[in-house]
Amino acid sequence: MDSLITTAARALAAGDPLGALNRVALREDAPALALRGIAMAQLGDFDRARILLRRAVRAFGPKEAAARARCVVAEAEIALVSRDLGYPAKALEAARATLEAHGDRVNAAHARYLEVRRLLLIGRLDQAEHVLSEHMLADLDPAPLPPASQAAHALVVAGIAMRRVRAGEARAALARAGEAARRAGIPALTAEVESASLVLETPAARLIARGEERPLLLDEVEALQASNALVVDACRYIVRSRGVVVSLATRPVLFALARTLAEAWPGDVSRDALVARAFGAKAADESHRARLRVEIARLRAMLRALAGIGATKRGFALAPRRGAEVLVLARPVEERHAAVLALLADGESWPSSALALALGASQRTVQRALDQLAAAGKVQSHGRGRARRWMTPPVPAFATTLLLPAILPGG
């Protein structure tokens, strides 16, 4: 607790890292090193920031455990923002526990939020949701977190909701985030919320119904899922109706048949057309027709709870149960490697071996597809070698905000 540290910390909190540096640039004591580190991080010099924070950790005395823990949390945030997702989660968790034990709720909450953000970034949605719900329980405390923390927290909630196609929840969380960001008075945070909000105004899918197409926003996709319609979802390779979901993600042929039948509904589809779409054959010969009969029988079995498949004079027609409307949901732009993208559409991270297994394709084929998709910015990976995982890019700009914990007096 000294005057220059307090002034510098105040400058940092007000978004003035240069002002903070001016106060402590020449000081080598632990709190000054920590503040310099955070200021450098805010200025984007992550390497220098990391070195300063590590020096600060060493310079703090044995009794200053909370101050050291704050430095660890700051370093974890820098790692996250520079996409070093291999940052040891254990160190962060230990720092969080230390801060909690020292009654530093704000920074403990910040550490938890970083952990959730890391889980979101590496596609562990279930775990992220789990930690977040525990976090909310732990936060049933009368003293509210500062606005910047509230905004960051709401952004993570929105990110998970978007991945889970819960548009209403995402919208509400973004509204909270925007409000909190304004109260925090940090322009970068407000800009981040705005750019995240753009995702909700961008078509998330394409609706194909009775021969017509139109783009759908995430809200509309969510509404569709709650409707009674029979939805053949080509974003996820599933067929869904009234809460019943049949996944065809690992059965591309069956999915192609289902989609073709759904696009023609209420009409039927000729055998030739089905063979062409599902098997890629130009003309159907007798063996194709035999195979079609087998595959239709399989599809019939899988969709039994949702729809029947009736034979017509020239082919087959879909007959949804209880007279439901039939709709097809497709990606906004149809592209190659749709099957790979469909598997990744769950927002989780996948090893390429699991993708190959699910698609019944060779690892090499899947790897080639992933490389092409990565080059086009449609997928991204983290980890190296066998630990490498693939996923669709995170909801835009969710990992850029650098909030860094307060290194205020007491530390």
């Binding site: 607790m1 000294d2 005057s3 220059l4 540290i5 307090t6 002034t7 105040r10 106060r23 000081r27 004591d29 632990a30 709190p31 005395g61 044995p62 009794k63 200053e64 455990a65 909370a66 101050a67 020292h102 009654g103 205020l408 007096p409 007491g410």
Partner: protein
């Protein structure tokens, strides 16, 4: 050296809009505390806020009977308590890094936090007259009845200490309960010590024990109270 648990008589706050209490002082009627961008006065009887001055107030606070002295960044400001106007500024010792501030008999006493020192400073020029070493981070500093007291805050532990102003020897230690920090210190001229509570946003009152007159050093030259 005598060592005992600090007896906490009363807690004020947390005060609205205050997340951090730095220096504290007492003008004979109201207690003042620094909270970053302002100085706040409250009535020690009711605990109610009375008024505040918009001045940079990062660390120690003192009162010489007419003016408030306040550490802001690397300066010590002399402030008119009625108008909040800064009347004069002197450099703080060591260019910053200071915490506590006390006034006694014509000089200022400044705690230098992590350097574990207390400087006696000329209030007109900022020149360092002498320096006392401590073995703990120094926060608040105050004089009462010829006794020099200061707060310590290291890690999670705080003490209120009575030291010999010539040698720095610790005469008496009051241990604060775990997690209760002492960021600023001021006597009310009697048996009560106001303690800034750092990021708890509180001000606490600790009882100053009566001591045997023969037990400690004291200083013949700096007997004085900080209040009118």
């Amino acid at each position: 050296m005598k060592r005992s648990e600090a007896e906490i008589l009363r807690e004020y706050g947390p005060f609205p809009g205050v997340c951090n209490v730095a220096g504290v002082t007492f003008d004979g009627r109201h207690a003042w505390f620094a909270s970053g961008d302002r100085l706040n006065a409250f009535d020690p009887a009711s605990g109610e806020p009375v008024r505040s001055l918009d001045v940079a107030a990062d660390a120690g606070t003192a009162f010489d009977g007419r003016h408030l002295f306040q550490i802001a960044a690397d300066r010590i400001q002399k402030i008119d308590p009625h108008t909040g106007r800064v009347l004069a500024t002197i450099p703080a010792p060591g260019g910053g890094g200071n915490s506590g501030l006390a006034w006694a008999e014509g000089t200022l006493w400044v705690g230098q936090y992590r350097d574990r020192k207390i400087h006696q400073v000329d209030p007109h020029t900022g020149a360092i007259l002498r320096t006392i070493e401590s073995d703990r981070f120094v926060t608040g500093v105050t004089w009462v009845d010829g006794e020099l007291w200061h707060g310590t805050w290291e890690g999670d532990e705080s003490e209120v200490r009575h030291i010999d102003p010539r040698t720095g020897e610790v005469i008496e230690r009051l241990d604060m309960p775990t997690g209760m920090a002492v960021s600023g210190l001021e006597s009310d001229g009697g048996d009560r010590l106001f303690c800034g509570g750092g990021n708890s946003g509180k001000v606490r009152v600790v009882r100053r024990p009566r001591r045997n007159a023969a037990a400690g050093g004291g200083s013949a030259t700096t007997i004085g109270a900080t209040a009118e």
